[in-house]
Each structure stands twice: as C-alpha cells, then as structure tokens.
Symmetry: C2
C-alpha cells in the first residue's frame, strides 16, 4: 500500500500489521441463527439476544486478550465478574489514574468502510493518551462493545484492534462487556468505549504546576485526525461528495491513499515515547490535543500566572487537514479549535532540553517540532493561549 | 406514590429520594441553540456539536459529582485528563478490582417513559454489584454518556442517578465522558456505560474456591427485573400492548404501580449489605445474578467438584415476573435462564450461619431466603446447577 510520508511509520503500518482479519465487510444478508432446538432461551433469542452464542464468544475474547501484555500485576483472567490487578512493586507511593473515552462518530465512518480494527486502536489511544499526560503508566484496559445484533466478525475485528492498542501501550486487556442491544444500534454498526487504569509514583505526577515563564512547547506529530471532530469531518465529506468534489474510495495523490482510509488512520499512541522521555528529561507539562483542539486543551494544565504562545505555522500539517479545510471552507480559528491539525501531544519543557528531547523523539520514530513558548501573563485577564504567526 | 410491598424499601424509594429533577420528559421541540456569533466553532456546531456549551456543562457535572463520596483516597477532581486515587491506607496488600457494564435496552424503556435518573442508578448497580461479589469495596466510578444531540436535561437526570448510585455504594464519581454523536443516537435517547475500580485485601478475595459440599445458598431479594433481559421484556410488552392486553401507563393492582414504572425500578445495590456481612461472617462465594440468570451465573464461581441445587419455589417472586411470564408465554426454564426472578444476589455460606446471616440482612433492610445447598458431584459430568422443586 502506498502511504504518505507523514504516515510512514505511523497509523497505517500498525493497521496493516494486524494479523487477524483486518478488514471485515459486514454481510447484511448473512444469517447464522441456529435452530431453536439448541437454544437455552428461545424467546430471548427471538427478541434478538442469543445467550448461548454470546457466552461461547467469551472464549474467543479470551484468546484475543491473551495477546496483550502478560503483566505480573494482573491476577485474574476474563470471565469472572471483575478483573483483578495491583500496582507494580517498585512503586513507593503508587497513585492510580483512571479515565474513559470513546471514539465518537468515527464509528460511522468505520461502519461505512466496513473496517473495524482501526477504531479498536483509536479507543485505546484516546484513553491511554489521557493517562500518560499525568505521568502514569497504563496497567489495564477494559472495553465495552455494543451492537444491535451480535456480529462476531465485527466484534472480533474491533477487539483485535483493542488488543493491538493494548500491546502498543503495554497494558493488559483485563475484561469488558459485549452487549447485544436490538433496536439501539443498526446492523453493521458498533459502539465502543474504553477504560484504563494506570499508576504513577506520587512524587512524579505531572500536573502542569511546574510550568513557568520561558518554558518551551514541543509538539509531537499526530497520525491524522485521530478521534475528534468526526461529526464535522463527516459533514464536510458528505457535502463534498454530494457536490461531486470528493470520492472517499478514490486514491488522491496528496494523501497517498483514499480519503476514507486517511480519515480512518488509527490514533497515534504516545505511551512508550512519553514514558521514555519521563525517565530522562524534565517534563513540566504534557497536553493531549484531544476534543477541543489546541484552544480547548493547552489551557487545561497551565498555572494562572502564565500563558502559552503557539505558532500554528511552525509545523507542516498532514495533507488531510488542508483538504478538509478547503472542502469545508473552515476558518483557521475553527480548524485549531476542533482538530489537532497535526500535533497529537504538546510537551512543556525547560528550554535547554528542547533539542535533546526532539532528537530522542525522532529516535523513537516520532515526528517533533518546537511549536511555542510559555510567557508570564501581563494582566490576569490575558488569554491562556495565543496562536500567533511571527511577522 | 403507591408501591408494592416488594418495593417498599427498595428501588422506588431511592428513585423518589432524588432531589434533582426526577422525571425529565424530553422536549422534542425545544431548541436552545445560541446565535452563531457566540460560537467558537460554528461549522462544528452546525454539524451538531457545540464545544462551548459542552465545555460549560463540565461545571454542572462537577457539582453533581461533588454530592458523591468525599473519599480521602481521591486526589483529583473532574476536568483533568484523568482522575487520580489510591488504595486506602489500612490495606496491607491491596488488590484493585475493575469492571464495566451498561444497562442494555432498559435504555429504550427509560427514553419511552422520559425518566432517566433510574438508569443512572442501574448503571452503577450493574458495575458495583460485580465488584462486591469478589469481596471488593468500590472506590471510584467513571461514566460514559452518549447522545445524538446534547440534551443537558437528560444528561443531568442521568448523572443525578449515577450520583445517587455512587452514594448508595459509597464510591466517588471520579470523572467520565459525555459524547455528542449526531446520527448515532436518536433525539431523546442516551447510552450509558459505567466503570468502577474497587479494592480488596489480597487475603480476603472471595472467588468461590472455598465453596464445599454442605454449604447453604442464601438469596437476597431483587428490586425487580434489574437491568438484564430487557430485549425480551420489551418484546413481551410490545406484543401484549399490540394485542390490547397491557397498558404500560395504567396502574395495576398486582404491581401497586404501572407496568412502565415497575419495569423501570432501579437495580438494587448490594454493596453496603455485603460489605457488612463480610466483616462478621464467612462467605464462601457470592454470585451476582446478572445477564444469564441463575443458570448463567451460579456455575461461574463453583469449584469443579461441587454442584448447586436451588429450589426455584423457595422464595416469592415479585409480581412483575409472573406478569411477564404469563403475557409472553415464557417457559419456567427460560425465566430462570434470562431473569433474576426475584433474587439479585446468591451467597454461599456455611450452613451453621444461615439464620444469623438472614437476620442480619433483614436488619439491613434486605429481603433474604435460604434457596438451596451445595452438593458434591457424583460424576464429573453432573451439571453445575440443578433447579429442583422438592416433591
């Protein structure tokens, strides 16, 4: 597959690397209902839920989960009422960190293209990227999958992506819930929610309180739109398709692939890179550029006394962003308010360490740029973030 | 409100006790869109997601979350990228226990009746009841809410129920995700998923390995259908309504309320009662009667050498069950395969402690019965569970 330079070491490679069924077209005509003679709850099966096959599917899930991290801290396997784990013993004062997220309406695009493993990676990415910004190492992951009608091919592809995301972030797929909900989700679609718990040494929590005047801001490249802003993406795409200006299935030179696949590129997982940096450098603050873009996220960790000044022209945007901007007629302000625009993580670091950190990130197969600095506010009313192109 | 004796101390009371808007009828005609002049991402807002109001809503969520447990172990508040907590200091070898669940298609019934706080309680109940059966004390809870269009009234009612569930189980609502997903969920509906982490002393984990020949099985009463089997419930109800045999809005003497409200009764939360028992009694095994009913759950914790014999006539079923059975023509076997049939938890205990445990449960406002015993299997091929009515 031809890929853009941007994606060379990123999303698409890991998507291709999945050894389990990578692209599952949902077959809307297939029926695999066993005869009622073998069903332990026939009326429930007629209502759309087959307890026997759902329970048998747990064995398949176990096999997929076993491909994720064999952490010594995990004390139970899937199938119990709940999963058990503990903090690694090397922690003196372990603090647990927990968060949850989904992948938004990127789900609809996955269903449209019949490709479900990438949203599994997305789901893990959205959650563990929120953990690692506090300095935490992810330990375990739980998933919730819901479908209107149990489609084991779709569920397995999604779970395979979840397992790949867990491997990329070195956490164990501890358990989860697969719900059959007739009438809630259309055939061929799936909802996916993830939850992770990590651990951080109390003295090493990164919360932005150390950020100060003169710090530099480093951006780490994203693999594309990641998993935010897809309601806008879909509107832009649908309108452009309706106008005859876009075919999501046709390769485009500037993307090196089709718009559909470029938009489905899995969210980059920054866990290993950031944990590597934490061991050797001083990170004052880490920001996941998630829902709300630069404007919604950088201010979340800044002390009141300082502001961030980011130059939005200081990095090269992946080609999917100018394409969306042009097709949708989206203003520059809104692009930076909704999308990551090519930066998945922002690191706030002492200026003397900038070059070494960027070198290390490149050695870790990440793309990185210095994108701004931190300044003391002149007045308490100053904004927390300025997006300024130097004249 | 008139309630059935069964529900007197249970679901309905806690539903009524909510001081925040208890019943929210979704207003399908209301529009609260601000003028585009005040919107920071106008194209995204046109695509159905208003970042400004979504971010402002986080403040409302914080206020609701603050009504839940002020656990000393919680180190962060809502709004960060992830929530932080630690194991209570009294634990010598703390093991963390994590699980996730949703409330299935009970969601559709809630949307039909325009009542959303009860499913918030359900969501917490389904999760923390899975934790406590392993002997764990729930510490924190995270929620995922998703709607097609952000309806703050529905979200607040649901969150209020979640907060009530957290109070009933003494855990902190640590954080969560509220997703606006146009095109995935119809207006007036919501998806809800919960995650919880609890802690148990390693030496006190309850996993069924101590269950042995001669143990007694005690059932603790449910508040109704809880949150499993609703696809079957809805099929039975819809068919009966179509035949003119049922009006879900009309009070029925045998229920002491309407079928709609009886079916929406919040799932009983057993955390405080079971943690109380664990302090003073020997519990060899605890089984949450969740999806799959008696047949799907009791065998999950039994050692291979033993079987459970349960007498399904040894307790009085809440009136909603015979009503569903009669209307749907559901066999006795299937009733016990799908529904809890009036028993939300099963405890496996030494026979000498049965009376004292039942007395204690009654003192804790629970309804409890001896419902069976554990026997040694005569052959390895014997079933793990027999449902036997003594002749």
């Amino acid at each position: 597959m031809k890929v853009s330079p941007w994606n060379l070491k990123q999303g698409f490679d890991s998507l291709q690397a999945l050894t389990y069924p990578s692209s599952v077209k949902s077959n809307k005509n297939a029926t695999t209902k066993p005869s009622t003679a073998t069903i332990s709850a026939p009326a429930y099966a007629q209502a759309g839920v087959n307890l026997d096959s759902d329970e048998a599917f747990v064995e398949d899930i176990k096999k997929i989960a076993q491909t994720t991290s064999k952490r010594r801290e995990v004390l139970s396997s899937i199938g119990g009422f709940a999963g058990m784990f503990k903090a690694p013993e090397r922690y003196k004062e372990p603090i647990m960190v927990a968060c949850t997220d989904g992948v938004g309406t990127k789900l609809k695009l996955a269903a449209e293209l019949g490709v479900f493993d990438s949203i599994g990676i997305d789901c893990v990415a959205m959650v563990v990227n929120d953990l690692v910004v506090q300095g935490a190492e992810p330990l375990i992951f739980l998933d919730y999958l819901a479908m209107g009608e149990m489609d084991q091919e779709i569920a397995k592809a999604t779970l395979s992506g979840l397992a790949e995301g867990c491997r990329q972030s070195d956490c164990a797929l501890l358990g989860g819930e697969t719900a059959t909900m007739p009438g809630v989700y259309p055939k061929g679609e799936i909802e996916i929610v993830g939850f992770s718990v990590g651990v951080v040494e109390r003295s090493q929590i990164i919360d932005g309180s150390e950020v100060h005047d003169g710090d530099a801001i480093i951006g780490i490249g994203s693999s594309g739109v990641h998993s935010n802003g897809y309601s806008l993406v879909r509107k832009i795409v649908d309108d452009a398709v309706a106008r005859g200006e876009l075919d999501i299935h046709a390769e485009r030179d500037e993307l090196g692939t089709t718009p559909g696949l470029a938009l489905l590129a899995p969210t980059r997982i920054y866990v290993k890179a950031i944990l590597n940096l934490i061991r050797d450098f001083t990170l004052h603050g880490i920001v996941h550029i998630t829902g709300g873009g630069f404007v919604g996220n950088i201010p979340r960790i800044l002390p009141d006394s300082v502001m961030a000044r980011v130059d939005p022209t200081s990095w090269k945007r992946p080609p999917i962003f100018p394409l969306l901007q042009r097709l949708g007629g989206i203003s520059e302000d809104e692009m930076l308010r909704v999308f990551n625009c090519g930066i998945g993580m922002a690191l706030i670091v002492p200026p003397a360490q900038v070059e070494e950190i960027i070198d290390r990130l490149r050695g870790l197969d990440e793309v990185a740029f210095k994108i701004g600095e931190v300044h003391r506010k002149q007045s308490p009313d100053d904004p927390s973030l300025e997006l300024v192109t130097p004249s």
